[in-house]
């Protein structure tokens, strides 16, 4: 299978069998991300799951860097690692996550879920490989300021063409803020 794939691709300029350095790093980090993600959803120690999530999200930030989306990568670190995971850990601690295994982390339908996930993964991967196996993307040389993932490029595009969604997003954030405050306030008055 792999040999046939390689043969079919050898006519192209870029073979899967002679990967570039970026590709090797990407695959290695990708494996780490995937492993961390699997541990996130499978470990029965709640806080460990959150910490594996940190590894997975941090690895994804590295993947973004490899894809020359520098700005996105730092936003990922800032929002996900700095805030979302801290919030999740906060939530886990407030819901009294125990040290050690909690046997009821997984529900009874985990085998169904596993089957579904495997089927979905098989379908998606087949589809994606079939569709994009010959597609090559040129990564711009990193370091130059005009690469497409730089802060400047993102800022210009964001505030020139995407202003309306941006503003809508700010309204959404405000709504979320108000919602969170209301949710926690009402409880305090009751109890």
């Amino acid at each position: 299978m792999t040999a046939a794939l390689a043969a079919s691709l050898s006519s192209q300029g870029h073979s899967f069998l002679s990967p570039t350095g970026v590709e090797i790093v990407f695959v290695l980090v990708g494996l780490a991300v995937l492993g961390a993600a699997v541990l996130t959803v499978s470990t029965s120690q709640l806080v460990h799951a959150a910490l594996w999530l940190v590894v997975a999200l941090g690895g994804l930030a590295i993947e973004y860097l490899l894809l020359t989306a520098e700005f996105i990568a730092w936003v990922q670190v800032l929002i996900y690692l700095g805030s979302v995971v801290v919030l999740v850990l906060f939530g886990l601690m407030l819901t009294r996550a125990p040290i050690g295994r909690s046997p009821d982390a997984d529900s009874g339908n985990r085998w169904v879920a596993l089957g579904l996930a495997v089927v979905a993964a098989g379908t998606l991967v087949t589809l994606v490989v079939d569709a994009f196996r010959c597609t090559w993307m040129d990564l711009p040389a990193s370091g130059s300021t005009s690469v497409n993932g730089s802060t400047q490029a993102n800022g210009e595009v964001l505030f020139r063409y995407w202003v309306l969604p941006f503003e809508a997003l700010s309204v959404l954030l405000l709504a979320a803020l108000v919602g969170a405050i209301v949710l926690s306030r009402r409880h305090r008055e009751e109890g």
Partner: protein, 146 residues
């Protein structure tokens, strides 16, 4: 770089998240799985943006939006989970059944009602020492009113 690498990684990551959402019972863990799925989408968006060399950077802009929405989602989600935990004493999705429909044959659900599924009653009653009896009483009352 071959587009297949990020695309496959994103697909696998999405499926891992999918498994997590379906298989987890703790609400916070479910939220974490949702984050994984969102991140898979983000990775796809970034990769395709780089591939297409979009002059509008739609992919990256959308990724920013997704990240923002994810932050809002986790904030609200955790607020809800915490409130549920405070009122019900658990963050276990399977036990939060107060609003579930009464069984199909129209009988009022009681503690002896096996119609709700054998594993609900035996997970709910012994494993929820924090939830007082009045809670189940109110649940019955609500279900009866419905």
């Amino acid at each position: 770089m071959h587009l297949a690498y990020p695309a496959v990684l994103a697909a696998l990551l999405f499926c891992v998240g999918l498994y997590g959402v379906l298989a987890r019972r703790n609400a916070v863990l479910m939220l974490m799985s949702v984050e994984l799925m969102l991140n898979a989408v983000n990775l796809n968006l970034v990769a395709f943006d780089v591939w297409l060399r979009d002059t509008l950077h739609a992919g990256q802009a959308l990724t920013l939006f997704t990240i923002t929405i994810a932050a809002a989602e986790i904030g609200l989600g955790l607020a809800i989970v915490l409130m549920v935990f405070r009122t019900q004493g658990t963050a276990d999705i399977d036990r939060l059944r107060e609003l579930s429909e009464p069984p199909a044959d129209g009988l009022p659900p009681g503690p002896t009602g096996a119609e709700a599924g054998p594993d609900d009653s035996d997970t709910a009653s012994p494993a929820s020492p924090a939830s007082p009896a009045s809670l189940t009483g109110s649940a019955q009352g609500k279900a009866g009113a419905v």
